[in-house]
Every structure is written in structure tokens, then in C-alpha cells.
């Protein structure tokens, strides 16, 4: 038994946890940014998908995965702009607007697949993925156990870790962070101070677009070397759950995402070791069940922002 556990819980498992958590944690941070500023964003799944496509496309066109990452982020921002317009300027119900964005994202990526590559399904492989730019930070990566997991990773994984810490700092120390929190808790107060709720919410949604675009890029050009239709596999929604489980806080969301990453990594490891003879589907279902449990278990312990999901107009007193 102990032999079995030793086989299962290796430093590699920890490394895979951090790696597989990256897209969820970027998405969860995007969700934190949106919800703290008062926007319920279920468009993230779609934004990630568009980001993944744009990243693979840009990397394929230019031959550089770095430009691919840039392309993914740009695609995410552009697509999010439409969501921001719908949810903030056109006062559409946020969940409805998000659902429409998801529907549009499936169509756009499928159409572009045919237009760009001439076929549906999976795009051709790119020559260099971001996997080739693995960077082991000197000294730190030698720390036993957590060293290789945290400090011997690929670019977007570092980005996911840094972004959460940076964002916690922004909330704690900057005017922008304060405005965003106010926009989610009491938008009228923010408006009274002469700052535009509309502008703050646009900023939040577009930033979330960058993060989701990067998450998509992780899926298509870092964890793989091509785009596959529907490759996000519900990570946008899992990210939403990680945000809730993390109590609407950047670092909390990161920790919750690490839990999902662990579930994923454990699933892969247990399956490849073949220690438990079960059909692979039983393992694949873990993340979804874990998500349900996480939302159900944690939601009571923290409070969502007061004005989340509520439309804001100056005349309507923010209701």
C-alpha cells in the first residue's frame, strides 16, 4: 500500500498539478476580476475557446509561439469586447449574454477552422510550442519537492502563478483595485465619486479576456501543439466554480484551481499506472464531480459581491 502511494504521490504529480491548474487558475482569476466588479461572466468558456484558436492560428502563421500567445490574448480581448458591449452597454442579462457568447464561439471557431485550414476537427501541428521554452529558475528549482513543481515550468504556468499574486496586490494596494471592488459592491457609490462604473466594468471584462485568451493559448500551444474543436471541455465553468470556492479572492481562486489541477493530475496518473482497474471514463469524470462538490461545499462560507450580475444604470440607482 505504501509502495502504491509512493508511486502515486511523486514530485511529478505535484508538477502536473501546477501545470494542469494553469488554465483553470487563469480563468478563475478572470472570474474574480469580473465578479468583484459586478459582472457575472459565463462567457469565459467561449472566450477561452476563441483564445485557443487564435493562439494556434497566430503561432501557425508566424512560426513563433510567443506571437501565438499574443494572438490568443488579442482574440480573447476582441471577443470579450462583444460581451462587454452586450452586458454593460446594452444592459443584457449577464448570463443570457454569456450564453450567447458561448454559442457564437462554437460557430466562429468551427467556421474559421474551415476558412483557415480547409477542414474541421484539429488544426495542423505547429513547429514550436511554448513547451520548448521550459525554464528552470536557478537555485529555487532545486528546492526539494516544491522546487521542480513551482520553479521548473513553462511560460503560461508562470504567468498563471504571477497573475494571481499580482492581482491580490492590485486589490490591496491600488486605486484601480478599489474602484473594481466598489463597482461590485456598491456601483452607485463609485459613480457618485465621479468614476464611471461602465469604464471599470469594461476594464474588468477586457482584462478577463486577456486572462482567458492566455488560458486558451495554454491549451492549444503549450499543453498541445494544435487546436481541437471544443478543446476547452468546460474549463470556463470549472474556473467559475474555482472562483466561488476561492471566496472571490485571487489567491483563494489560485488555491482552488490547484485543487482542480490535482484532481486532473491524479486522474491521469492513476489511469496511467493502472493501479485501479476501472474504465477511463470513471477517471475523466472526476473534475466535474469535484466541481459540483466544491461549489456546494464552499459557497456558504463566503459571500459574493453585493452587486454581482446586476445591471447598472445611473437612473435606476444601480438596481
Amino acid at each position: 500500500m505504501s509502495r502504491l502511494l509512493a508511486d502515486l504521490f511523486t514530485p511529478q504529480l505535484l508538477g502536473a498539478t501546477v501545470r494542469l491548474a494553469a488554465p483553470v487558475s487563469l480563468g478563475a482569476l478572470a472570474s474574480v476580476v469580473c465578479e468583484r466588479s459586478g459582472v457575472t461572466n459565463i462567457a469565459m468558456e467561449g472566450v477561452m475557446l476563441v483564445g485557443a484558436f487564435c493562439a494556434a492560428w497566430a503561432a501557425w502563421l508566424t512560426g513563433s509561439p510567443w506571437l501565438g500567445l499574443l494572438g490568443g490574448a488579442a482574440g480573447g480581448v476582441l471577443f470579450s469586447l462583444l460581451f462587454a458591449w452586450a452586458a454593460v452597454s446594452l444592459h443584457m442579462n449577464h448570463v443570457v449574454a454569456g450564453a450567447i457568447m458561448n454559442i457564437l464561439s462554437f460557430g466562429i471557431t468551427r467556421y474559421l477552422m474551415v476558412v483557415v485550414y480547409g477542414h474541421q476537427g484539429t488544426s495542423p501541428s505547429i513547429a514550436h510550442s511554448l513547451q520548448d521554452y521550459r525554464l528552470a529558475i536557478p537555485f529555487l528549482s532545486r528546492v526539494p519537492f516544491i522546487g521542480p513543481a513551482l520553479f521548473d515550468q513553462t511560460p503560461i504556468v508562470y504567468l498563471s502563478l504571477l497573475a494571481a499574486v499580482l492581482w491580490a496586490w492590485i486589490y490591496a494596494r491600488t486605486r484601480l483595485g478599489l474602484s473594481m471592488i466598489a463597482s461590485g459592491e456598491h456601483p452607485m457609490a463609485l459613480e457618485t465619486l465621479g468614476r464611471s462604473v461602465l469604464r471599470v466594468r469594461y476594464t474588468a471584462i477586457l482584462l478577463a479576456g486577456v486572462l482567458c485568451g492566455a488560458a486558451g493559448a495554454f491549451l492549444s500551444i503549450e499543453n498541445a501543439d494544435s487546436f481541437t474543436e471544443g478543446m476547452t471541455g468546460g474549463r470556463g465553468f470549472i474556473a467559475l466554480a474555482a472562483n466561488i470556492a476561492g471566496g472571490w479572492r485571487p489567491v483563494g481562486a489560485l488555491l482552488a484551481s490547484l485543487f482542480f489541477g490535482f484532481v486532473d493530475a491524479f486522474q491521469l496518473r492513476a489511469q496511467s499506472l493502472g493501479i485501479i482497474r476501472l474504465p477511463s471514463e470513471v477517471f475523466l469524470v472526476f473534475p466535474y464531480v469535484a466541481t459540483i462538490l466544491a461549489v456546494a461545499g464552499f459557497v456558504r462560507k463566503s459571500r459574493p459581491p453585493a452587486a454581482v450580475g446586476k445591471d447598472f444604470t445611473v437612473e435606476g440607482n444601480g438596481e
Binding site: L90, V95, A99, F106, I238
Partner: protein, 420 residues
Amino acid sequence: MKLSPAPRILVIAAIALGAPAALLCLASYFWGLWFLLLSLVLIVIERRLSLGAQAFTAAVRRALARAAIPVGGIASALLFGALIMALTGYDPIVSYKALFYGGLVRNWNVSVLNATPLIFTGLAVAFAFQGGLFNIGAEGQYYIGVMAATWLGLRLDLPPLVAIPVIYAAGAAMGAALNGIPALLKVRTGAHEVITTMMCAYAVRTLAPMFIRANGGDPAVTTHPGATDQVSQQVWLPLFKDFLPAANYRLHIGIIIAIACAFLVRFILMKTSLGYKIRAVGHNKVAARTAGISVGKITVASLLISGMLAALSGVTQDLGLDHRMFQDLNAGYGWNGISIALLARNNPLLIIFTALLWGVLDAGGQFMARTAQTPNAIIEIVKGTVLFLLLAEVIYEKIGGWLGRLLLRRFTRGRTGADA
């Protein structure tokens, strides 16, 4: 106001004529359209007689004004799609010709077959919406319905008149049970149903291949991997062909069940106390609670019924068309159900028409991809654009306001010198 006898006879005649005519149209007997038109004319005459001249003109004007936005929105979305096609090197005119010829004439029966499951999932989403809930996992409930129908269809040895209702009931129960998880979690812990219904759908979809392997789809032993064995012919739904010989051989009576379900849902929502409570909770939870309605119970009830409706979609598809479960698990009934419900503004009877519209677009899109080589994903973009344009009411206010200001500026220019 009491109806005088003449209008009442007209209404009865219109229904007696319209219902069979609609049936004929669904079965590709296109001459049924004339009778449908005649029935419409009868209704117009009846309205004119019972409303009087002035009120009638006002009603017509209102109806036209109400139709302007949907028609304008769909037309703009098609134009937008044409623009994209033109920009990416496809001929929009050839494509759209193929789309509408394929969807409305050549493959009309495919359109009807497409619409059948969509009516159910659309109703499922709309039912939850009416209760203020988002059931975005209808796809999962659809699959559980297919599983229930396949499992029983492979084993049940009963006369069709008993077996089919039993399968429908079992499917509904499974759909309700699956949606019971999000419902209970919502009431007990406050977990948002958007996440939980979606995750349940992903879980069911992930586990489905196990079910298929266990029911005859094991690649090690079968010649048809990726699909279960065929269910017993006894439980197949009757075909239109049985009573309308020229109807397409695949067209089954599921569409009639779906339409009946739409009327039933409308009845439940509008005429029963449960429906009233559901709408009250959907409208304003606090007011509903103050009025003594148990919000938790109503929330559970609307999610359970919503799950049932979505599962019926799968049962109908299985018994009527597929007769087995396929592993091709990307049908998009969930998201399309959301679109259809949103487009119909959660009105159960309008859902019949929006589902048919979606069915036509899908069937026509396939025909277009085959004959004009235009990728049918453009249809998904058009659908999304239609939704966007029809749900963003503010756009029209803005366009109206912008036009108004433009006119105002033209008329006041030079007199006041004021800027807008």
C-alpha cells in the same frame, strides 16, 4: 363581452381546418399550406367581426410593430452572415439559395426532424427560466433520456401501447433525478445552478461511452462500435407514413408529441397554481416569499420539471429516429435549447416556431455545405447573431434615439445653434 355566434363558428372552423393543415404541412404535403392560409384568413375575419373596425386596425398595427424587430433582426443577421461569407470567399447568394431551398423545400422533413428534440429542450430551458433559473445542462438530461429509453427499449417486452408510455415515464423520471442534484444543492447550499447543471451534463456525457459499451457497443465484440444495439421495433414511435403515404419514411410522430407538450407547458405555466407560483418566484423571490410561497419547493419543482422535459427530448429522439444511442455526443441540444427559449422569450407556443426556424437553418445548412461547399458553421454564426440582435433591445432604442437626434438637429439647425 360575449362572442356572437358567427365569430364562434369561424373560430371553430379555423381550428378544424388549421390543425390538420398544419399536420399536412409538417409531413411535406405542401398543398396543406393553402388550408393553413385559409384558416388564418378565417381568424382575421373573426377578429375583424368581434373587434370592430377601429380596434381591428389598431390591433393590426400593434401586431406589425411587434413583428418588426424579429423580422428585422433575422434579416440583419442573414445580411451579416452574407457579409462574412463574401469576405471569406464564398458566394452568399448561391449559399443562401441552397440554404432555403434545402431547409424549406428539399429537406423539409429533416427540418421537422431537427426541430422535434429542440422543442423539448427549448421548453425545458424556458420552464426553468420562468422560475428564474438557468438550466444550461439540458444536453445532459437529453442523454440520460436517451439512456433510459435505450436501456428499457432493449429489455422491455410489452405491447407498444404500454411500453412506450412506460419508457416516457422512466425517461422523465431519470431527467428529473439528474436535475435533482442541482436543485437540491441550490436549495440546501445555494450552489449556482449554472455551474451545477453544466457539470452534471459534462459528467453524463463523459460516462455515456460506458453505457454504450455495456449495451452492445463494445468494440471488442461488436461490428458497430460507438453505438448500442437497436431497441426493439415494438417500441418505435409510429411514422407519419402509416397514415400519410407520401410522407418521408423517417418522419415520426414525435413532432406531434412535442407540440402537445408545448401546449401542456403553456397550460401548466398559465392556468395552474403551480405555474403561477413558478412565475411568481421567477419574477420576484422576495415578493413570492412574502406572499407565502415556499421558494425552495418551487425552485426544486421547476428544475425537476425542466429536467423531465429535456429527458423527453432524448426519449423521443431515441424511440422515433435513432433507435439506439450513438457515441457522437456533440449534438448541441442544450445550447440550441437555450437559443430557442431565449428567442421565443420563454413563450411555450412560440418555441414551436423558433425550434422550426432552427431546424430549417440546420437542415438547410447541411444541404448548403453539400451542394454549395459553404461551411455550415456559418449557420452557427448567423444563429448567434440573430440571438444577439433580438435580445439587445437597447440597440433599437439607441438606433431610434440616434435617428431622432439626427432629425432634430436637421430641423433645429441654424435656429438655436445648440449642439445635441
